[in-house]
């Protein structure tokens, strides 16, 4: 493993002599402006066809104009309910789904126009950790093969003994034992499987990891283990995370900044503290109120905002503000004009006429 400082993300941290030399060779980085990923006006529409001739009868606006940046070493939380477009956003960043329009710049390189061959080398630098470690690990491969395969495919470690050694190192790094390399996924617990998924993601030394609901399939007592592991790895390796999840307590714990999505758009984005302590969008406020707190005394005193209705279909989103049919404070204007994200403070934006 190369020293973390040379892998980027160590901006602002003092390194060893070699790392310092590498830093000097690279252009000077200011941690405040060192943007690793920049997503601009990202749109992903899926055509809906019907009938014998497959005529296009509409479009699902899965992602409808999303912009954000992630700085090196930072964690951006992306929250929202199912169908809000948070997973599609992740897939569009990886170019697993080609965006309909918009731009995705990663380490200064535009990805939306890259050819497949060039994309492969970029994908080495962007890895994914999936929700369900069971369905994302090949049941017929041993842990050693699963973690070692990317190293062989990308030609990073060609000799088998060296590869085995690297696999051992990765297993240790994620808190597994050396002998786990000969086990199959079904012989491991859910938490251990998720550790394998993390080791596989780390094997290619990525700079960005998209964590798509990485703990929501795990037992409560195991979730905290995995979250602590992700945080330790971030510190050790200078990783950057896009943390996609629906559990607002977990997102608050792990994120530096948080974006809330509703029906394909970001409705509020702010640093962690601002978003949780002074949310301005009524949807964010309702989401926070819906999270039950594990304390009966607190729950008895708390006021609960229960939103009426359900998330509308992205096939025919409401006019004006997409949230207005469920919004407790909506006024007439909300039905007519769509509110744009506007600045409410440093780094804090919300898309609401009344915020």
């Amino acid at each position: 493993m190369s020293p973390p400082a040379a892998q980027g993300g160590a901006a602002g941290r003092s390194g060893t002599g070699g790392a310092a030399a590498a830093m000097a060779a690279a252009p000077q980085r200011d941690p405040a402006t060192d943007v690793l990923l920049e997503v601009r006006d990202l749109v992903k529409h899926y055509p809906v066809s019907a009938g014998f001739l497959g005529r296009e009868v509409g479009v699902v606006r899965a992602v409808d104009g999303v912009s954000f940046t992630i700085r090196r070493g930072e964690t951006l939380g992306l929250v929202g309910e199912s169908g809000c477009g948070k997973t599609t956003t992740g897939r569009c960043i990886l170019q697993l789904d080609r965006p309909t329009s918009g731009s995705v710049r990663f380490e200064g390189q535009e990805l939306t126009t890259l050819r497949p061959a060039a994309l492969r080398s970029v994908r080495r630098r962007i890895q994914v950790i999936f929700q369900d470690p069971y369905s994302s690990l090949n049941p017929r491969m041993t842990v050693g093969q699963i973690v070692g395969e990317p190293l062989a495919v990308h030609g990073l470690v060609r000799e088998a003994p060296a590869r085995a050694a690297r696999v051992q190192e990765l297993l240790r790094q994620v808190g597994l034992l050396p002998q786990h390399d000969r086990r199959y996924p079904h012989q491991l617990s859910g938490g251990q499987r998720q550790r394998v998924g993390i080791a596989r993601a780390l094997s290619l030394e990525p700079s960005l990891i998209i964590c798509d609901e990485p703990v929501s399939a795990l037992d409560v007592s195991i979730q905290a283990q995995i979250i602590n592991l992700l945080e330790d790895l971030q510190q050790q390796l200078g990783l950057t995370y896009l943390f996609v999840a629906h559990d607002l307590s977990v997102v608050r714990h792990i994120s530096d900044r948080v974006a809330v999505m509703y029906l394909g758009r970001i409705v509020e984005i702010a640093d962690r503290q601002t978003l949780y302590e002074a949310p301005r969008h009524p949807y964010t406020q309702a989401l926070l109120s819906a999270v039950p707190i594990p304390d009966p005394e607190v729950e008895a005193r708390r006021e609960h905002v229960v939103l009426a209705g359900e998330v509308p279909s992205p096939l025919s989103p409401p006019t004006g503000c997409a949230f207005h049919p469920r919004c407790p404070i909506a006024v007439e204007e909300c039905q007519r004009t769509r509110p744009l994200l506007r600045d409410l403070g440093p780094g804090h934006q919300a898309a609401c006429h009344l915020a």
Partner: protein, 336 residues
């Protein structure tokens, strides 16, 4: 108060290739009329099998209730004939499952699924049953019931399907509803809607509820009393307020400490329970939690602790080292 449901020394086993799994092992708890009781624990702790055992729905021949009594309104459900049991299910005790799509029949209209039980259990004629179905949909907040009754489950959203499950459960005015992870598959805002609905309706209709969940927040918001399960046994039992304020078992304490809370300052690090949940076919001789426990002593590895008094209002805990436990769930809080 006499309990409505009184589960005594219930044991349910599954025979697998890996050996005999004691999914539920000598478990006792009760539910009083109109009360909400929670069974909490992680996957494999035996909470769902407990509910299935009460309904006598454990899949034979692999699964078998091997011991215990389940007293409900003066009868032991485990001794009823299959015919008598059928009259209890849906009529006196109803169930709400986690995944509404898999527990609704996709080829029957919503109306038929609602009227079937009413016709069979209450002997209502089709017209009366239909009127009752409309009333039920209205009650659970599904607008336009006449049109909705003619539709099929796939035409309903996830939240609407779960409302429909609640309507089916309440159709014959049962005394007890067993809700197995009723909101786990739903989005946060819909989860809040369904739980509020169940709470309001259970209060209005005087129905007792057993909520089975892994979510400690849901328990805190809705349950009067709580049973915490681990590896097939109840390890702590008490009123929700008492148990959350003074957890007297290292596992409960560990669970409460491991979850981040929105109402507290952000902690620099989470405080997980180390290790993995045990393999139920190879349980250690002593306390099943001992291998993961920070308070473990010699005795815990050899001797299984019984449920002993741990506080007021029937608070009991199965731990030899109750005295050594800290009296609070609060850990040092630092914001990074």
């Amino acid at each position: 108060m006499t309990p409505l449901l009184d589960v005594r020394h219930l044991s349910t086993q599954f025979t697998t290739r890996g050996g005999v799994v004691r999914a539920v092992d000598d478990v006792s708890w009760d539910v009083r009329p109109a009360e909400t009781v929670a069974l909490v624990g992680e996957s494999g702790c035996g909470k769902s099998v407990s509910a299935l055992s009460i309904m006598r729905l454990v899949a034979a021949p692999a699964g078998r209730i091997v011991a215990g009594e389940v007293w409900f309104r003066g009868k032991d459900l485990l001794r009823l004939s299959e015919e008598e049991m059928r009259r209890v299910r849906g009529r006196e005790i109803a169930m709400v499952f986690q995944e509404p799509m898999t527990s609704l029949n996709p080829v029957l209209s919503v109306g038929r699924q609602l009227t079937e039980g009413v016709e069979i259990h209450l002997g209502a004629d089709p017209a009366r049953a239909r009127a009752r179905a409309e009333e039920l949909l209205q009650m659970v907040g599904i607008p336009d019931p006449t049109r909705r009754l003619a539709q099929y489950p796939h035409q309903f959203s996830g939240g609407m399907r779960q409302r429909m499950m609640v309507a089916m459960a309440l159709a014959c005015e049962p005394a007890l509803v067993l809700a197995d992870e009723p909101t786990t598959a739903l989005d946060v805002t819909i989860q809040a809607q369904i739980l509020e609905l169940m709470k309001t309706l259970s209060r209005r209709l005087g129905v007792a509820m057993l909520i089975i969940t892994h979510n400690l927040g849901v328990v805190a918001r809705y349950a009067d009393r709580v049973n915490v399960m681990y590896a097939g046994r109840i390890i702590e039992q008490g009123t929700a307020r008492e148990l959350y304020a003074h957890p007297r078992h290292p596992y409960t304490l560990g669970l409460l400490r491991s979850v981040p809370r929105l109402d507290e300052a952000r902690r620099a690090r989470l405080d997980p329970i180390e290790g993995q949940p045990p393999d139920l076919s190879r349980l250690p001789p002593g306390c099943a939690f001992a291998p993961r426990c920070a308070f473990r002593v010699e005795r815990c590895l050899a001797e299984r602790p019984a449920l002993l008094a741990a506080g007021p209002d029937g608070h009991v805990s199965a731990c030899w080292e109750i005295e050594r436990l800290p009296d609070t769930t609060v850990v040092a809080e630092v914001t990074r």
